[in-house]
């Protein structure tokens, strides 16, 4: 571990000075001990995580804020205010345009809770991130699940048609698990169609994988969401920011909509995540490096599958969706036996498609050897 010990000993925490002094020196002592060896673990290519985790600046911020332990023991409400400001600054909006959650998952749930009802359904793709539909089931909101089109993209036309009378139209762009993107123009047209067909419906766009998109036709809908009370854009720190373990997501929208959306408040946010997110949102350069890193590893993996005779969708994310021409289950089980974890089933495509998260290039080189074994193809990597 690369962090310094100085952060731990340079300031006094809370409580009595003697007590804290004792505590400080104990920490410093413990940190000089070597970290216990960790058992090797499988390649984790099943949850679309960033294999590198957060940047050093982010960890330094956490270390610096929590090193003495003080803020970890305090409710983090002041810190949340700072995070909202940092996010607002990043997008040139006001904190009233921003809501945060325990991952974007909490925000997606809140949107379903607030904007749908048993008579105001949720419209979603049949194969998309399930948080909204799962929560709709819990609260008794009907779900209009619209099948994907032939190119495994969300069928925006059919979704707009289904939006009449709906509470929320949910679009994950790029879409998990298909990795596909809808262009900025297509999204603009969709939003307008939904607004016409269903003036009360909120269009909820989950841009979780935004920072991994390389297709120039992509546009974020954040600028429009700030002005449009029927449009909300959700983002997360779990993907390109490398902070899946920190549990911070956010959404941007019109102040009136955001106010309603903040149904549960920020009470589920923890201070480590808040501090980390506040630092990470400022580090655009790292996001660009992460996107470039991912693009190279993604291309390597898709090229390997292509040479081996397996096609995938045009991935605009940190995972690929590949037609492995056999049930996902058998492939997954065989890969696990050889130390690689890949995704679960995604019905109705579980008979032939598999989602594989993109690790580092080194990890993907190891992974394709396993895939080659499992799929019975000779290694053809150039």
């Amino acid at each position: 571990m690369s962090f310094t010990r100085r952060a731990f000993v340079k300031t006094v925490g809370v409580g009595s000075a003697a007590f804290m002094a004792a505590r400080r020196s104990a920490w410093a002592e413990l940190l000089q001990a070597p970290a216990p060896a960790r058992a090797p673990r499988p390649l984790l290519l099943h949850n679309n995580e960033n294999p590198l985790g957060p940047g050093e600046a982010v960890l330094e911020a956490v270390r610096s804020a929590l090193g003495q332990g003080g803020p970890a023991g305090r409710y983090p409400w002041d810190d949340v205010t700072q995070l909202h400001q940092a996010i607002a600054d990043r997008f040139g909006v006001s904190p009233e345009n921003v809501v945060t959650g325990c991952g974007s998952t909490q925000i997606l749930r809140e949107a379903v809770q607030i904007f749908t009802s048993p008579v105001k359904p949720l419209v979603a793709g049949q194969l998309t991130y399930e948080e909204c539909a799962g929560y709709a089931d819990l609260v008794g909101t009907p779900v209009r699940a619209i099948p994907l089109d032939r190119s495994l993209k969300l069928d925006l036309e059919a979704m707009a048609d289904a939006a009449r009378g709906a509470g929320v139209a949910f679009v994950n762009n790029p879409n998990n698990p298909t990795a596909t993107l809808l262009s900025g123009d297509a999204m603009d047209a969709f939003i307008e169609r939904v607004h016409t067909a269903a003036p009360d419906a909120v269009v909820l766009i989950d841009e979780a994988y935004h920072d991994y998109v390389t297709d120039p036709s992509h546009r974020t809908q954040i600028p429009r969401a700030v002005k449009d009370p029927r449009l909300v854009v959700a983002r997360t720190f779990s993907k390109a920011h490398g902070m899946a373990g920190m549990r911070v997501g956010y959404a941007i929208g019109h102040p009136d909509t955001i106010k309603r959306l903040a149904w549960e408040g920020p009470n589920a946010l923890n201070v480590a995540g808040i501090v980390a997110a506040t630092a990470s949102i400022k580090d655009e350069a790292r996001l660009r490096r992460e996107s470039a890193r991912n693009m190279e590893a993604r291309k390597f993996t898709l090229d390997w599958f292509s040479r081996a005779g397996f096609g995938g969708t045009d991935s605009q994310t940190n995972f690929i969706f590949v037609d492995i021409k056999r049930p996902a289950k058998g492939f997954r089980d065989a890969c696990r036996e050889q130390g690689v974890l890949v995704s679960r089933d995604f019905p109705p495509l579980e008979k032939s498609y598999m989602r594989i998260s993109i690790g580092t290039l080194d990890e993907m080189k190891r992974a394709v050897d396993v895939f080659g074994n499992v799929l019975g193809v000779k290694a053809k990597a150039a």
Binding site: M1, T11, G13, V14, G15, S16, A17, A18, F19, M20, W27, R38, R41, L44, N47, E49, P51, P54, V62, R63, S64, L66, G67, Q68, G69, G70, P71, A72, G73, R74, Y75, P76, W77, D78, D79, T81, Q82, Q85, P95, C102, T105, Q106, R109, E131, L138, A244, G245, M246, R247, A262, W263, G265, P266, N267, A268, L269, N270, V271, A272, G273
Partner: protein, 399 residues
């Protein structure tokens, strides 16, 4: 001054805006929400935080060490991190002598209290709660349009179990905070068992949520956890938090204990991935170090006794505290007292209707902090008496 608050500001600049009304709900956030939007950033230099019932020392050393070691897994979902959420459930199960399937995790017990309201109450089946008590369940009920029956506490600040049992017929859920926040009082194990038995008999479909957020601070020998009751009955659940004695309010970890089916429901309704990977590591380490909780209890007991004596010397009646805060009869409106203290750099608890005209809640900091607070509070309460010296204690620095 032996204690510096500078470390708090290490990575923080002053907050530009007051909290939004959405903050109302948090345990410990009460102080700001109830007093409107004018509240400044809490953690400012020199300000004593006696408003949110936090552990002034923060997490134990094992927790902080584990937290930093877990940096390597900050990019992994808490299910993949090492230790994982499964390890945390196991650590909690071990600590309270149950099985992992008896434990649900929450992003603070806040989340679990809200889930309990959804799971058990409805527009046809009301919530029974105390007045005053921790408000999260009733706030949730109000958000969902569920009726609330508030049973006043008795003259000693104890939850009125007789009246609560009577109000329980046809109720969906009873919220029973033991020790009770803000009155600080506790019911002994025998009374809790009798109460549960009675409600189970008279209104068998009514669920009972016993919130033991302050469990680790209780010193009354008659008290015992209700965890065995939660294991015995299908609709009794006990909630706990690591925000209090474990000193991890910033980490947002709470848990519920009950029968597997009840727990499954909490898990189904919980926020997906509601734990931070670093916090999980800190919590697992902390749970494996019960000695530091014993030390924290001893520290709090001493500071609590000191502060209780202090108020009694000023002529204020203090309820029998079994927690890390006091409920004091100051004889003036809570809001007025709070504002006067805040002007002098001390944040105390907010108003708790219906006792908001006469009582104030004051969290227990370190003895040093309580001595500093005493000077200010004596001034505010118009008493010119000197502050009594604290008994010698391991938590005081040698002079």
């Amino acid at each position: 001054m032996p204690v510096s608050r500078r470390s708090f500001l290490h990575a923080l600049s002053p907050a530009p805006a007051g909290p939004s009304s959405a903050f109302v709900a948090a345990r410990g956030r009460e102080a700001h929400a109830a007093e409107g939007a004018s509240a400044p950033a809490r953690r400012s230099a020199g300000v004593l935080l006696l408003d949110s019932n936090e552990n002034p020392l923060g997490p134990g050393r094992a927790a902080m060490e584990a937290l930093t070691r877990a940096f390597v897994d900050a990019g992994r979902y808490p299910t993949n991190a090492r230790p994982s959420t499964a390890d945390l459930r196991e650590a909690i199960a071990h600590r309270v002598s149950v099985r992992p399937e008896n434990v649900a995790l929450g992003a603070g017990s806040w989340e679990l209290l809200r889930s309990a309201v959804r799971l058990h109450a409805s527009s046809a089946r009301h919530l029974v709660t105390a007045a005053p008590t921790f408000e999260q369940p009733e706030k949730m009920a109000e958000q969902l349009g569920i009726g609330v029956r508030r049973v006043p506490v008795d003259k000693d600040g104890r939850i009125d179990l007789e009246a609560t049992a009577q109000a329980a017929r046809w109720a969906g859920l009873i919220f029973f905070c033991n020790p009770n926040n803000p009155t600080s009082t506790v019911h002994p194990a025998r009374a809790v068992t009798e109460f549960v038995t009675r409600v189970r008999k008279e209104s068998p479909d009514t669920a009972i949520l016993i919130d033991e957020a302050y469990h680790d601070y209780v010193t009354d020998p008659g008290y015992a956890t209700a965890v065995p009751l939660a294991l015995e009955h299908p609709n009794v659940v006990v909630t706990r938090t690591l925000s209090k004695a474990y000193g991890m309010a910033g980490m947002r970890i709470g848990y519920a204990v009950g029968q597997p089916r009840a727990i499954e429901n909490f898990n189904r309704w919980g926020i997906t991935f509601n734990q931070n990977s670093l916090a999980v590591a800190a919590a697992v380490a902390s749970l494996g170090d019960p000695a530091h909780i014993d030390a924290e209890r001893a520290r709090n007991t001493e500071a609590r006794a000191f502060t209780t004596r202090f108020f009694q010397d000023l002529g204020c009646r203090v309820m029998d505290s079994q927690a890390n805060f006091l409920f004091v009869e100051t004889g003036r409106p809570a809001r007025e007292f709070k504002e006067a203290c805040a002007r002098r750099g001390i944040l105390v608890g907010r108003a708790f209707p219906p006792l908001d005209k006469s009582h104030a809640r004051v969290s227990i900091g370190t003895v040093d902090e309580m001595q500093r607070a005493g000077v200010v509070i004596a001034e505010v309460l118009g008493a010119g008496r000197p502050v009594p010296a604290a008994a010698s204690s391991p938590s005081r620095p040698p002079r």
